[in-house]
Symmetry: C2
Subunit: 164 residues, 2 copies
Amino acid sequence: MKTFFQYNWIVREQWYQWCEDVPEEELLRARTGGVGSILKTLFHIVDVEWSWIRVLQGKPDFQEDFEAYSTLDKVRELDHKFRPEVEAFVNSWDETMETRALISHEANGKVDVDAWGEVMRHVIAHHIHHCGQLSVWSRKIGKKPVSANLIGKGLIEPDMEGDQ
Amino acid sequence: MKTFFQYNWIVREQWYQWCEDVPEEELLRARTGGVGSILKTLFHIVDVEWSWIRVLQGKPDFQEDFEAYSTLDKVRELDHKFRPEVEAFVNSWDETMETRALISHEANGKVDVDAWGEVMRHVIAHHIHHCGQLSVWSRKIGKKPVSANLIGKGLIEPDMEGDQ
């Protein structure tokens, strides 16, 4: 679990760096698919990651409005504000939390029960999915996208003592 | 690990179903980003997933040529041919394999050492990333993409006996 979050944080940082060379109007341009623009996607990723972690902790979430965070600097600031709480939660993750039940009462009276392990993997997959969308838009504006390669980022130290 | 693979297989099956209603010329149309077409992306996902599993097992891989698999039926057939081996490997996964070293000798004499746990996560992220690309192209042709939601697919049974 932690490895995937670390991967996503590295990739997200690389997308921020990628954005530095791109005119703001390209970052905000309405695009087909996903949530509609490059910067809004990064904002959405940060928002959704933090919001789910809040939900799992039973803490109040707030509905962030992209209009208030529509520059690269503001998205980065929001990310850095949320990150410590997300990191602490991810670092505290253990096997016993996998099947813990999240009970959600919907407006229509329906009750949803989901395993925490599903929620955490959803957050991970959500991030990667949206970065896949960014990669298409990146090529559209003629720029090489951030690599999605998970290998070679030093995330897991291989055991050199083994017989493999 | 298994949960993510199961998620990817469900989503992949849903993308095949999605393809059934799409004219073949749209599936093969050259597109900006990724590997260049919808069907080639699905082929690439299947190929890469199987190839890495072969590499980890020290078994020979072969370089599949998309030209020989350029219909939905052929990609599905290839997938169903490869799946049992991938599934068996994923189901055999345990913690002790996480840091096992994969040693790769490159053409230029360089030796790469990667942890198996990184390779497996790469395969997972690779799949999700490419499905993100499919979702953009899907909107381009005016069709709702397959949902990337990991929650609600019955992947992990929540524990209703706990105090959460």
